[in-house]
């Protein structure tokens, strides 16, 4: 491994180093604040490193593919982690709980996500996913009080492990068929292997897709989502929704492309069915949901349905890969904004995640309410927000590929979605309840700053997307 490769690996290395430093710090002197600062510094350095490493983009061993695309997503993930870090500081009750480990877990989970994003091989995929996942279980279960986090964690653990097993078994089948473990290798051999043993290749693919679909929570692998979203501490939910799902989707995209899965018509059919089901069922489930975190869980199901549409249209390079970039970026930013506001407004009070708790937010906290409004509009795909440009991509792709079936599901799904996103906005604008709910609490500058920053980013992506499009095109 030469120096250039080490430089390419810099983000991963810095994250690992941060983890090590955190461990050492914890063993020397337990101090939450210090741990927070170390993590923050680590993330900031990683963010810088993702830029720095672009100069050295190259495959690092057979396991990792460091290119500008994966570096961009690494940066995005680290950014999301940074936001999570900011949200976590004030979140779940400070007294008594030792959060040093929490920060360590966060760093480890991000490390896993970055590895997952950069993976080009089954083993790095496994490692990244499990590192990310195992750390997440612990993060979900972190609050000492309340039963819901624990329930969420155990459910997530069991189901996720099950999904991992399915994924692994799928890879085993693919390996048996092709003798390859790297994506590219599989792609090269699969075509010939398909001729001799289609059953093995297809069954393997099906199981791999199923395993990944679980993490993306698309129908019918979606049922864990609301429970985990609801049970987990809000910053962790945000993290799960953005980092975990985003990284897995990047990995899926890379696998899909490198292994040239788009050649298999049955797979396209299967993905289409999943996508349609996700778009419709996800939105329908969210329709009358009263808990905002569960609602966002269901909405995320639908959004990954939309993303699958992009995947289905992905036949090589071009607009579709830009679309993945754009959609994921928009989705991650929007989710972060939403969860940032929820974390601020609801704290860890299980009752305050009800939509009713957001009534009159406009008159209590303008900044948070505006941020949540913009986030909801972005989710709904209203122009001037990032979500609209994202939807613009999806619809364009679907039209160009003449996927009218997918398109109609998308339209119907979006139509349903408008209702529940709007319900939240309406609830916030209610004027009759200002006194009964009470004040949101003291001003929190970091929360406001975060909300404003995210809102600005969402609006910028939506109203002036050209720089980002150019940038994404260059990836």
């Amino acid at each position: 491994m030469n120096a250039s490769q080490m430089q390419a690996l810099l983000p991963v290395l810095i994250l690992s180093l941060t983890a090590v430093v955190l461990m050492i710090q914890a063993s020397i002197k337990r101090d939450q604040k210090l741990a927070w600062i170390i993590s923050a510094l680590g993330f900031l350095c990683t963010l810088w490193a993702t830029g720095y490493a672009r100069e050295f983009a190259q495959p690092v061993t057979i396991l990792l593919q460091v290119d500008s695309w994966s570096l961009f997503f690494s940066a995005l993930v680290v950014f999301a982690a940074l936001v999570t870090l900011v949200l976590s500081r004030k979140s779940f009750s400070p007294e008594g709980e030792r959060k040093e480990e929490y920060y360590l877990l966060l760093v480890l989970s991000v490390l896993g996500a970055v590895v997952l994003i950069q993976s080009s091989h089954m083993v790095s995929l496994l490692l990244g996913m499990e590192l990310m996942g195992v750390a997440l279980y612990a993060m979900i279960a972190f609050p000492e009080k309340g039963l819901l986090p624990l329930e969420a964690a155990i459910k997530y653990l069991v189901l996720s492990a099950c999904a991992s097993a399915i994924l692994l078994f799928g890879f085993a089948l693919l390996y048996a068929a092709t003798g390859q473990l790297s994506y590219v290798g599989i792609g090269q051999q699969a075509a010939t292997a398909y001729l001799s043993n289609p059953l093995l290749v297809m069954a393997g693919t099906a199981m791999v897709i199923s395993g990944l679909a679980f993490k993306l929570s698309v129908v019918p692998f979606h049922m864990w989502t609301p429970d985990v979203y609801q049970g987990a501490p809000t910053p962790v939910t945000g993290f799960l929704a953005t980092v975990s799902k985003g990284a897995v989707f990047v990995a899926l995209t890379r696998f899909y492309m490198d292994a040239q899965l788009y050649q298999y018509q049955p797979l396209i059919t299967a993905l289409s069915i999943i996508a349609v089901a996700s778009m419709l069922i996800g939105n329908l489930l969210a329709l009358r949901q009263e808990d905002i975190k569960r609602l966002l869980a269901y909405s995320s199901i639908a959004h990954f349905g939309y993303l699958l549409v992009v995947l289905i249209t992905l036949t090589g390079t071009g607009m579709a890969s830009d679309a993945v970039t754009f959609y994921l970026a928009a989705y991650i930013l929007t989710s972060l904004a939403a969860f940032a506001v929820i974390a601020r407004v609801a704290g860890e009070d299980q009752h305050k995640t009800q939509i009713a708790a957001f009534e009159g937010l406009f008159w209590r906290d303008k900044i948070q309410a505006t941020a949540l409004t913009v986030a909801m509009l972005s989710f709904a795909g209203i122009p001037l927000t990032a979500g609209f440009m994202a939807k613009f991509y999806v619809v364009s792709l679907a039209i160009q590929g003449s996927y009218w079936f997918l398109l109609s599901a998308l339209v119907i799904g979006s139509a349903i979605a408008i209702y529940y996103y709007l319900r939240i906005i309406f609830s916030m604008s209610k004027t009759s309840v200002i006194d009964s709910v009470g004040d949101i609490g003291v001003q929190d500058y970091s929360a406001n700053l975060t909300a404003l920053l995210l809102t600005a980013l969402i609006l910028m992506l939506g109203s002036w997307p050209q720089p980002f499009i150019t940038f994404a095109g260059g990836l």
Partner: protein, 504 residues
């Protein structure tokens, strides 16, 4: 730059109104009025320095240089999306209507809105900005953007300051328009995709897309996407059901903007986009559209007759009146089109005024139920006289703007489909029935002597006078409006004739 400034003034003015609330409860409305007036003056000044000849030049729809004003710059070059604004006579009329009714709406909100005035006026101004954008945007992406974005402040206006059932109404309004907007988005993108596959160029510019060659079947479906979006906004039968609720629940200023301006964007869209972009498909579709229009005319009138809620009655009358617009557009000849344009302007004034009266009544009586009114003329003779004026205007009394519009539409329609004209003419009779019923139930009949009501004050009378003069002017000497619209109408007719001629 002029056109962008028009929009920017309103957007910035909205923020100014929002902030100005800190300096006093009554400041925002003054700021808002000043902003709208400033916009109006700015437009007039800019027009006055333009050579008058340009007004009369018949623009070639597909040649932006022949338009009155044209502005274009890159925005998202990756998709060929531009900030492209252009104004021809039709847009100009609509812009004027928007700004005048904007001022009327501010006046309507003067005492009607009691809480959070800053935010209200801001929303009002932002809605106006969005509407102006709709009327001027010639890039389909930009058009769609304004189309959708203008709904958000409108939504807030209904949802926050509306009446008892505002949540439902606001939601219904938003969902109807959004869902239909989605269909339009699909159509726009498909149209662009077709154009791109024909020429290899990504563009959303109206001028480039006008001559797109589309397979017949595809064109029909794409046209339908546009049609539904516009007809929902219009609103045409059977997509009108959001309107009575939205109107009834909206605050007065909201109703004024909604009825006076927002509905016109639908009509404008039909004239500007739905037909010219798909001339052949539109011609084939015209019989259905015409039937929908006639159905709207009659259905709206019958339902208006059955209402007991003052605002709901006016709302249904809008359904009826806008049915005429649909008829006018799809009759697609000079008479009917000019009539449709006239109807847009005239209906804007007459309905806005009626909604203001409804708002004033609600402010004074705290009810919109006509069964609790009666004999109000006695208490408020000035309001009664004004109401009478606008009621007879809305039933199409010759000499007032609405008559010119309806007559031209029906005259144009008669040349296309005689039996349909007969059906649509029923609207004249039923229109009289509900209009006079409105008058009877509210202002006439047994007065309640115990009521202490203040009549219209000078601010209200001034606002009303503006609209009355406008309607009389439109009714007795509509030529200025007709002249401004004429080149556009001729251009469109020639254009569609050439295109369909080529196809045949």
């Amino acid at each position: 730059m002029l056109m962008i400034n028009l929009i920017l003034i309103l957007i910035v003015g909205g923020f100014a109104a929002l902030i100005s609330e800190r300096f006093g409860q009554n400041i925002p409305r003054k700021v808002a009025l000043a902003v709208v007036m400033l916009d109006l003056v700015y437009l007039l000044l800019s027009l006055s320095v333009m050579p008058e000849l340009e007004l009369l030049q018949a623009p070639q729809p597909s040649d932006p240089q022949s338009w009155l004003m044209h502005y274009s710059r890159e925005w998202i070059p990756a998709f060929g999306i531009k900030i492209e604004l252009a104004v021809d006579g039709l847009s100009l009329l609509m812009v004027f209507l928007t700004l005048i009714l904007g001022a009327v709406a501010v006046s309507a909100s003067w005492t009607d809105v009691q809480v959070r005035r800053g935010f209200f006026e801001a929303n009002l101004l932002w809605t106006l900005a969005g509407v102006l954008g709709v009327f001027m945007a010639m890039d389909l992406f930009l058009f769609f953007l304004f189309w959708e974005v203008m709904l958000i402040p409108m939504y807030f206006m209904i949802a926050i300051w509306g009446h008892e059932n505002r949540g439902y109404a606001a939601m219904k309004f938003f969902i109807f328009t959004q869902v239909s907007g989605l269909l339009m988005l699909v159509s726009i993108l498909a149209l662009v995709a077709v154009h791109q596959s024909n020429t290899g160029v990504w563009t959303f510019s109206y001028f480039d897309l006008l001559n797109t060659q589309i397979a017949e079947q595809t064109a029909f479906w794409l046209m339908l996407g546009f049609f539904i979006a516009f007809v929902v906004k219009l609103p045409g039968f059977p997509f009108h059901t959001w309107l009575p609720d939205a109107h009834t629940q909206a605050p007065t200023a909201g109703s004024v903007i909604l009825a006076g301006v927002l509905l016109k964007t639908g009509a404008y869209g039909l004239i500007r986009f739905a037909v010219p972009l798909f001339p052949q498909a539109s011609i084939e579709f015209a019989p259905i559209a015409l039937w929908l229009g006639a159905a709207g005319v009659v259905y709206g009138a019958v339902l208006a007759f059955g209402q007991t809620d003052f605002k709901r009655l006016i709302a249904y009358s809008s359904v009826s009146h806008m049915g005429f617009v649909l008829l006018g557009v799809y009759a697609w000849n000079a008479l009917a089109l000019q009539g449709a344009v006239m109807q847009m302007v005239a209906h804007g004034f007459s309905t806005a005024a009626l909604f203001m009266i409804a708002g004033s009544l609600q402010e004074r009586l705290h009810t919109r139920d006509m069964r609790e009114m009666g004999g109000l003329w006695q208490n408020m003779p000035r309001m009664g006289a004004v109401a009478m004026f606008f009621v007879v205007a809305s039933l199409g009394l010759p000499g007032l703007g609405n008559f010119v519009a309806e007559f031209l539409i029906l005259l144009g329609l008669f040349q296309v489909d005689r039996w349909l004209t007969v059906i649509a003419s029923l609207g004249l009779i039923t229109g009289a029935a509900y209009s006079l019923l409105l008058m009877q139930r509210s202002f006439q009949g047994e007065p309640d002597e115990t009521r202490q009501l203040t009549d219209f004050g000078s601010r209200e009378m001034l606002t009303m006078a503006v609209m009355m003069i406008a309607l009389i002017g439109l009714g007795l000497y509509p030529q200025p409006v007709l002249d401004i619209a004429r080149p556009v109408v001729e251009g469109l007719l020639n254009f569609s004739a050439t295109v369909t001629g080529e196809l045949l």
